[in-house]
């Protein structure tokens, strides 16, 4: 508990697509074991912020640090490629559309990373896959192919795939937005379980209730800036900014 | 690159290219005509005709064009068909490409929305008239590109008649590779002439496609 260095530290993040500025200087600091939810209207830049943490988006300005290592450091092409591959192995990413590999079985989806990137032997990797699948409640699907799974099951496998790399942090990019309503809970349940295990997480979501329940801190973003941030109780119960109030009113009483 | 050589042999190659164009055109006409008949048979309501049409396509697509050429040219005399190399080559290539063109035609017709057929039939048009006035005009547009692909394949396929001594481009190329010892120059000349033909054909197909598109 003496380690005060943040696990994720984003400073002055700026990003534009042509004339459109989607991130206008964002700061975000996430402590070890902390869970931060990022909310905001679509087009607010929340997904871009999340994706820039593991460099799926390249920032125009600003710094991203992971556990004391600068993610977007200036290196030669080849050196940066090696560096970023290393860094990404320490960050699990969960996508809105799951992005499971359709040509691989559930087991192979989970083990391909440990085997090819960590040199784990196949038997051990399969054991690991079983442990991870057990965690998300899908051990019986180990030999199924993604096409045979429901959306909720796919997303749980995607979480297991990310966890199998033993990441330091988990990034969730609207993990339940593409799911039918009745399948949302099974995925949320898995994320809550991770919260109990003190996984460091950044969760981009449009589910206010879930954010209130699971997050230690909530960021409200709009138009590429952080409008307001705070503990969920404060931010949801008595937001200070008018912009936040309007957004929450629309969302909580549609 | 020996450009003097290229210039010297060019007239011979241009003459050979005309033979390639001639055989392509004749085969194309035979191919389209036979393909139309085969397609009609395949879409007929008479089972025997459908079977014959399907058998034609299956047999000609299931065996090499080279064998079809040899069978007609070398085997023909045994069954009373005596043909010059050029005629045998053009007919065999035409019969061969017809099988592929029949596939393109059938594909075009089947791609026309079923609702079109139903709408016309519900207006009281007979089967034949619906086909002629409603389905075929729409299918024709859809056939142009696939038939164009067939035609380009046909132009390259005409090289096969070199094997029965038709003095077209590839035959000429082989002869000159042997006599000049300059394989790359000869290949370049031949390739350029093939490219010009295929490029011209591609332009023509594009123009046809656009002309059809503008009609509506």
């Amino acid at each position: 508990m003496t380690d005060v260095r943040p696990m994720i530290d984003v400073r002055g993040a700026r990003k534009s697509y042509g004339a459109l500025e989607v991130l206008k200087g964002i700061d975000l600091s996430v402590q070890r074991g902390q869970i931060v939810a990022v909310i905001g209207p679509s087009g607010s830049g929340k997904s871009t912020l999340l994706r820039s943490i593991n460099h799926l988006e390249t920032l125009n300005a600003g710094e991203v640090w992971l556990d004391g290592v600068k993610v977007n450091q200036k290196l030669g092409r080849a050196a940066f490629e090696r560096h970023i591959n290393q860094v990404r192995q320490q960050m699990g990413m969960v996508f809105q559309h799951f992005n499971l590999f359709p040509h691989l079985s559930v087991s192979d989806n989970i083990t391909i990373g440990p085997i090819k990137l960590r040199g784990m032997d196949k038997a051990k990797a399969r054991e690991l896959a079983l442990v991870m699948l057990d965690k998300v409640g899908l051990a019986e699907k180990i030999d199924a192919y993604p096409a045979r799974l429901s959306g909720g099951q796919k997303q749980r496998v995607a979480i297991a795939r990310a966890l199998a790399m033993q990441p330091k942090v988990m990034l969730f990019d609207e993990a339940t937005s593409a799911l039918d309503p009745e399948l949302v809970d099974e995925v949320n349940l898995v994320m809550k379980q991770l919260a109990r295990e003190h996984m460091t997480m950044v969760i981009v979501t449009h589910e206010m209730r879930f954010a209130a329940e699971v997050a230690d801190r909530v960021l409200f973003m709009a138009d590429g800036t952080v409008v307001e941030e705070g503990a969920p109780d404060e931010l949801f119960r008595c937001p200070k900014q008018e912009r936040t109030r309007l957004f929450l009113r629309k969302f909580l009483n549609p | 690159m020996d450009f003097a050589l290229i210039l010297r042999v060019l007239p011979v190659f241009v003459a050979a290219a005309w033979t390639t164009i001639g055989i392509s055109l004749i085969s194309l006409v035979i191919g389209l005509a036979v393909a139309a008949v085969v397609t009609t048979a395949r879409l007929s309501q008479v089972v025997a005709l459908r079977f014959l049409g399907a058998a034609y396509v299956s047999i000609f697509r299931g065996t090499p064009a080279l064998i079809q050429i040899f069978l007609l040219y070398f085997g023909g005399p045994q069954v009373g068909i005596q043909l010059e190399p050029f005629a045998a080559g053009a007919i065999a290539l035409g019969l061969n490409i017809a099988a592929y063109m029949a596939e393109s035609m059938r594909g075009g017709i089947l791609a026309v929305d079923r609702g079109q057929m139903e709408a016309a039939r519900s207006l009281g048009f007979g089967r034949g008239r619906t086909m002629a006035w409603i389905v075929l005009p729409q299918a024709a547009r859809l056939m142009i590109r696939p038939l164009g692909v067939n035609a380009v394949a046909l132009v390259k396929g005409t090289a096969l008649v070199a094997t029965i001594s038709v003095v077209e481009l590839t035959y000429t190329a082989q002869r000159f590779i042997g006599s000049t010892y300059k394989p790359f120059e000869i290949f370049a000349v031949t390739a350029v002439l093939y490219m010009i033909m295929i490029y011209g054909l591609t332009l023509l197909i594009g123009a046809l496609d656009r002309a059809y598109a503008e009609e509506r």
């Binding site: - | 064009a65 070398f74 010892y181 490219m195």
Partner: protein, 219 residues
Amino acid sequence: MQGLDFSVVPPYWALLGEGLWWTVLISSVSSLVSVVAGVGFALLVLYGVPVAQYPVRFFMWLFMGTPLLLQLFLIYFGLVQIGIDIPAVGAGIIGLSLHFAVYNADILRAGIVAVDTGQTEAARSLGFGRWQTLFNIVVPQALRSTLPALGSMMVALLKESSIVSMIGITELVHSAQLAISETYRPFEFYLTVAALYYIVNLILEAGLHGIERKVGLSR
């Protein structure tokens, strides 16, 4: 007109069988090489450095616009004149492989581009490098989605392999020609050979169909 007499064929079964064996062998090897080389060409055209990309583009353009027979003549009769002497079987396999590799590359290029970008992002976010992602995730999916088109190229290759008889390889057509030179019965032998091609073709198509179904099931 002599009338047909298929009893001239059976004494040559062994010869035709050997020819058939070579046809199958040459076609199989060339099919395999043409797919592997097709993947290589497609990746070079899409992601290669300009120095590698443009020669491959030019080569593909050249080989797509010219007949296989001409290409075989260049490789077999042409290269020997500049001191590269490739035996006929080798020249035949190289010619067939390159000719179809170019078409396969064209098919695979489209297949690779069509793979969802989310797949690349997922692999990259796990820590896979660019080329690792291509070889482990993108190319296998492209091979699956283009399987029907690659399969029809194999079907075409089997038939076009008959052309290598022209550079003196004793495959099916050439073995028939040997039999004809002794019997003067072209019709009977070419018809027999056509039937053999037809049967092998049916088997190949059934096999490809089976593979497609199996791959379809695993998705």
